[in-house]
């Protein structure tokens, strides 16, 4: 997409400058041809291909960027001014600390984003797209961390004066570490 854009930009600007400064450039092509070639023949195939590709890519991402759609862990992410709370509805007895999301690495996580007050948006830039937490709605987003590690998360919908500080952290563990993380906190 980046290189395609660069090429198109160079093409249009090149034509502009050539038409401006090179005498007789493009004069043999009648105006109608200019418009049909540049205005229809050039953009349509690019746009159609891009839209179809984006649709496929979107479907893939919606499934959590993996073919394995069976083993999904659901996490409830609740936004409120100005922090995130996480819980694991399918893991009874598990506890999570505010502002830290423990996930198992290599497994698809389905975030169910909800809000208690205004609209927030759940986003972990390195793990996938974002989803708005709209009060009254439960929106779903699948993310996946391939490797254990720490990933920064932020709120990306303006939600008041505390918006800039509404950050959280995702800690991806291996399977054992994850079990320890969500249960260990009870003992802490």
């Amino acid at each position: 997409m980046l290189w395609g854009s660069c090429a198109l930009f160079a093409l249009v600007l090149g034509l502009f400058l050539a038409a401006w400064f090179v005498p007789d450039f493009g004069r043999r092509l009648p105006p109608d041809r200019w418009i049909v070639w540049g205005g229809l023949a050039l953009p349509l195939p690019v746009l159609i291909a891009l839209t179809l590709y984006a649709f496929n890519q979107g479907e893939f991402l919606l499934k959590g960027a993996t073919k394995d759609t069976e083993d999904v862990l659901e996490v409830r992410a609740t936004g409120r001014m100005w922090e995130w709370d996480f819980s694991y509805p399918t893991l009874p007895g598990s506890v999570a600390e505010p502002g830290v999301l423990h996930i198992p690495a290599g497994r698809t996580i389905e975030i169910v984003a909800e809000s208690e007050d205004v609209i927030h948006s759940f986003w972990v830039p390195r793990l996938g797209g974002k989803i708005d937490a709209v009060p009254g709605h439960a929106n779903r987003l699948r993310i996946r961390a391939d490797k254990p590690g720490r990933y920064g998360g932020i709120c990306s919908e303006y939600c008041g004066t505390g918006h800039a500080g509404m950050r959280f952290e995702v800690r991806a563990h291996d399977e054992d570490g994850f079990v320890r993380a969500v249960s260990a906190e009870t003992s802490e």
Partner: protein, 836 residues
């Protein structure tokens, strides 16, 4: 009265006589100005002042973001600054600026003397100025809006924004939007009706085509925003929970209404600028515009497409992916009409011999910046990419590339092109080059790097960021670029000041253009043309150097002042043949008084003095009624001469007078608002949580009765127009029926409905019933006006215009009443059906 209009009149004497009629009076008389030259320039100057204020706010933002953990502003101040920057640039700069430009230019390009409704233009200007002052006043007072320029609920609702801040936005912007709607009506009617003789629809200047499309988009684009603002203000003021999810409302309703306006808005801003390029570029290239018809087809399709892609601002709100891809495809498709225009311009350049000039330099700036903005736009239209980039600085960079590229650079080009027309002087050009390169380089430095900041994950609207995220260097570079750009704009301003002070005078047509605005003296006289031309080729292929002197000598139509009237030529919209003489109202203070009364209404709303509001409304209605009083002269019985042996009727006796067309357009805008309201309620039923409500009891008999009675009102008005001797009885019937139906609707809304604050469904029904009642009351005013005229013994057979306009309203309000009742009954049965 002199009927001969041969050439050989003394041009100077003719000029004096016309100037006495058309000119704005000095001193306090300036407040009574209705002339489009004066109003257009006022619009543009005021918009530039707001642009400067918005620019200063932008500098504050960039200062804050230049370093990490900046302590320059706190979060609350920063919120007000970025909200006001966006709101000012959109609503107080971009839209009013091109409105002013269209108001100034259109009558000249169309070869006529003024716009169709000079008083409406003046009223729109005052509304714009007063609404803008409310917003700036709030900014100075430290209570400016602070929820972002798109005011997402619930952040902007009374729970999370209890102060006056959000009310300032909702009421101030709605006040300003009056000027946008009035300009839309005025522009459409002017392009349809007020042109030079022989200017058929396929000969109108390309700029008029652009503005026709833009004004139509404004007419149906602004009502959803106005509706949203009304609903949110009603929620804040009276606790009707349209957007409150705990009581059956939905925050997403606001987003749909806002972006249903907000996306067409982008094209509403871009198209006038593109129209300017389509007008200027062929002149600079010395060749006719390539693909006139294809461009017209492209912009019309762009207008349609632009209403089908608002959801691309909402890819992350949880809408199913298949639905998103429809909007994604539409968003990508809108690149095609843009590409058609771009390549039509390239073809024009290729087939001409472009001169190097300052406007051309700015057109280069436009190409460079806008193409990048368009390409990032296609990227953002792709759903998966948008999930990453949405609400980051990438989007901020994209929208500035589109708006600065698509609006500011073309506006600078047109300023350098047309300011000689406005001032009568040619530029000095010492500073112009430096100013352009400073703006251009500063802009690209500021915003190109902002794409990268966004891709690195920096969200919008954060007032501070930690130092370890790696965003500081890029932000610092952006800030430096923006300061350079600000200095560039200061140089542009200085350049224009120098032009007005030291510019060289010129005789006519410095660019050798082929359009009619150069066939007049510069700076232009208040009446534009001493007489009105007949043209026989496309309006951008004329020879102003030949036409100008002939028109100045009175050799066209209407080349003689008579009865101190301001007369313009009305033509058939398709063929361009003269079909009426439109007599315009003279200079008057009424627009100012009416706007002041309207302003009092908005201020009372703002300060929650609701019990005084009926008084303000009465004042507004009284003022508007005074607009209609002064037309009773008996001299218009017969067709009047316009010269060259032609006699045509005066507009009040014509088939399609401008005001009739204006009423139709007003009702189109009104219907758009109403349809948005009905669909908004259905949307709540489909999408909002906590539905259905416990109890929706409607008094069905009374509602049906109200609908029947409102139909009676339109029967009454028809009776009155069918037979002259029925005028009094028919209008009396219409008057009583309107009042009765309004009373019945109010009865149901206020006394029989459950409390509207309990649930959004009840609130919706309440608002729909109030809407119907309001139409009944306004209908009663129309009927009362007709009764007053009948009592004064007006000859209704001849002067039926007011009655015909009233009849349009009666028909519409009957239809609205019937729809309201039908909708209420349907919603009730739907709710009954879905309750277990």
């Amino acid at each position: 009265m002199s009927e001969n209009m041969t050439s050989g009149q003394n041009p100077i004497a003719l000029h004096r006589a016309l100037e006495r009629i058309w000119g704005t009076k000095p001193g306090w008389g300036r407040l009574a100005a209705v002339n489009h030259n004066v109003i257009g320039i006022r619009f543009m100057l005021t918009a530039l002042v707001f642009f400067a204020i918005g620019g200063i706010l932008a500098m504050l933002i960039r200062t804050q973001l230049a370093s990490t953990e900046s302590v320059f502003m706190d979060a609350e101040t920063y919120a007000q600054v970025f909200t006001m920057h966006g709101s000012i640039m959109m609503f107080l700069f971009a839209i009013p600026f091109f409105e002013g430009m269209a108001i100034y230019l259109l009558p000249k390009l169309l070869g006529n003397r003024d716009l169709a409704f000079p008083r409406l233009g003046a009223y729109g200007y005052w509304c714009y100025l007063f609404g803008g002052l409310i917003l700036i006043g709030a900014l100075i007072g430290g209570v400016a809006p602070d929820s972002g320029w798109f005011m997402y609920t619930p952040l902007s609702s009374s729970v999370y924004a209890p102060g006056i801040n959000s009310d300032v936005w909702l009421l101030g912007i709605t006040f300003v939007e009056i000027s946008a709607l009035s300009a839309a009506v005025e522009i459409i009617v002017t392009i349809m009706k007020i042109r030079a003789a022989g200017m058929s629809i396929d000969r109108i200047p390309i700029f008029a085509w652009y503005m026709l499309v833009v004004a139509t988009m404004m007419l149906v684009g602004f009502p959803p925003l106005i509706l949203g603002s009304i609903l949110l203000e009603v929620e804040r003021a009276f606790d009707l929970p349209f957007f409150d999810p705990t009581r059956g409302g939905d925050p997403l309703l606001w987003q749909h209404l806002f972006w249903l306006f907000g996306h067409p808005e982008v094209y509403i801003i871009f198209l006038p600028a593109a129209g300017a390029i389509s007008t200027i570029l062929p002149v600079l290239a010395g060749t006719p515009l390539a693909g006139y018809r294809m461009i017209v087809a492209a912009i019309v399709s762009m207008a349609f497409l632009s209403f089908g892609l608002w959801v691309h601002h909402m890819y992350t709100v949880g809408i199913p992916h298949v639905a998103l891809s429809f909007f994604s495809a539409a968003s990508a498709l809108v690149a095609v009409p843009t590409a058609i225009q771009i390549f039509a311009w390239l073809a024009t350049i290729a087939h001409g011999r472009p001169r190097f000039s300052i406007p051309m330099l700015h057109i280069f700036g436009f190409f460079f910046v806008f193409v990048i903005g368009g390409l990032t736009g296609v990227m953002l239209a792709m759903v998966p990419f948008d999930w990453q980039a949405h609400d980051t600085h990438f989007v901020v960079a994209h929208l500035h590339y589109v708006l600065v590229g698509g609006f500011v650079f073309p506006m600078l080009a047109m300023a350098y092109y047309w300011v000689p027309h406005l001032s009568g002087k040619q530029p000095v050009q010492h500073l112009s080059h430096a100013a352009f390169w400073m703006v251009f380089i500063g802009f690209n430095v500021a915003f190109f790097f902002m794409h990268l900041t966004g891709l690195l994950g920096m969200p919008r609207r954060i007032f501070e960021y930690p130092s370890d995220f790696g965003w500081e260097t890029l932000n610092f570079v952006s800030s430096m670029g923006s300061f350079l750009m600000a200095m560039g704009f200061a140089l542009v301003a200085l350049d224009f000041i120098l032009l007005f002070k030291f510019g060289r005078p010129f005789r006519r047509n410095p660019w050798h253009a082929g359009t009619l605005e150069w066939a007049m003296p510069t700076p232009p006289p208040s009446y534009n043309f001493a007489s009105i031309a007949r043209i026989d080729s496309r309006a951008d292929l004329l020879d102003p150097d030949k036409i100008g002197p002939r028109l100045a000598a009175g050799d066209g139509y209407l080349g003689m002042p008579r009865h101190d009237r301001m007369e313009v030529l009305g033509v058939d919209p398709i063929s361009g043949e003269p079909d009426q003489v439109v007599e315009l109202p003279r200079q008057t203070y009424l627009p100012l008084w009416t706007a002041l009364a309207t302003g009092v209404f908005f201020l009372l709303m703002l300060f929650k003095l609701y019990w005084l509001i009926p008084l303000a409304l009465a004042a507004v209605i009284g003022c508007f009624w005074l607009w209609t009083v002064r037309d009773g002269s008996p001299i218009d019985r017969d067709p009047v001469s316009i010269g060259h042996g032609l006699k045509i009727p005066v507009h009040i006796r014509a088939q399609i007078p401008p005001s009739h067309l204006a009423m139709v357009l007003t009702l189109v805008a009104n219907a758009t608002l109403y349809i948005s309201l009905l669909f908004g309620c259905l949307f709540l039923w489909v999408s909002a949580p906590n539905w259905p409500p416990q109890d929706v009891s409607l008094d069905i008999q009374i509602l049906v009765l109200a609908a029947v009675v409102s139909i009676l009102a339109c029967v009454g008005s028809r009776l009155a127009s069918r037979k002259t001797n029925m005028a009094l009885a028919g209008n009396a019937l219409a008057f009583c029926a309107h009042l009765l139906s309004a009373a019945l609707f109010l009865w149901v809304a206020l006394l029989t409905l459950p409390a509207p604050s309990g649930h959004a469904a009840i609130a919706s029904l309440f608002v729909i019933l109030i809407y119907a009642a309001l139409h009944g009351m306004i209908g009663a005013i129309f009927a009362a006006h007709a009764i007053w005229r009948a009592l004064r013994g007006h000859d209704e057979a001849v002067r039926s215009l007011d009655l015909r306009i009233g009849r349009l309203w009666h028909d519409y309000s009957a239809a609205a009443g019937v729809c309201a009742v039908g909708f209420c009954l349907n919603l009730q049965s739907l709710i009954a059906g879905s309750t277990p």
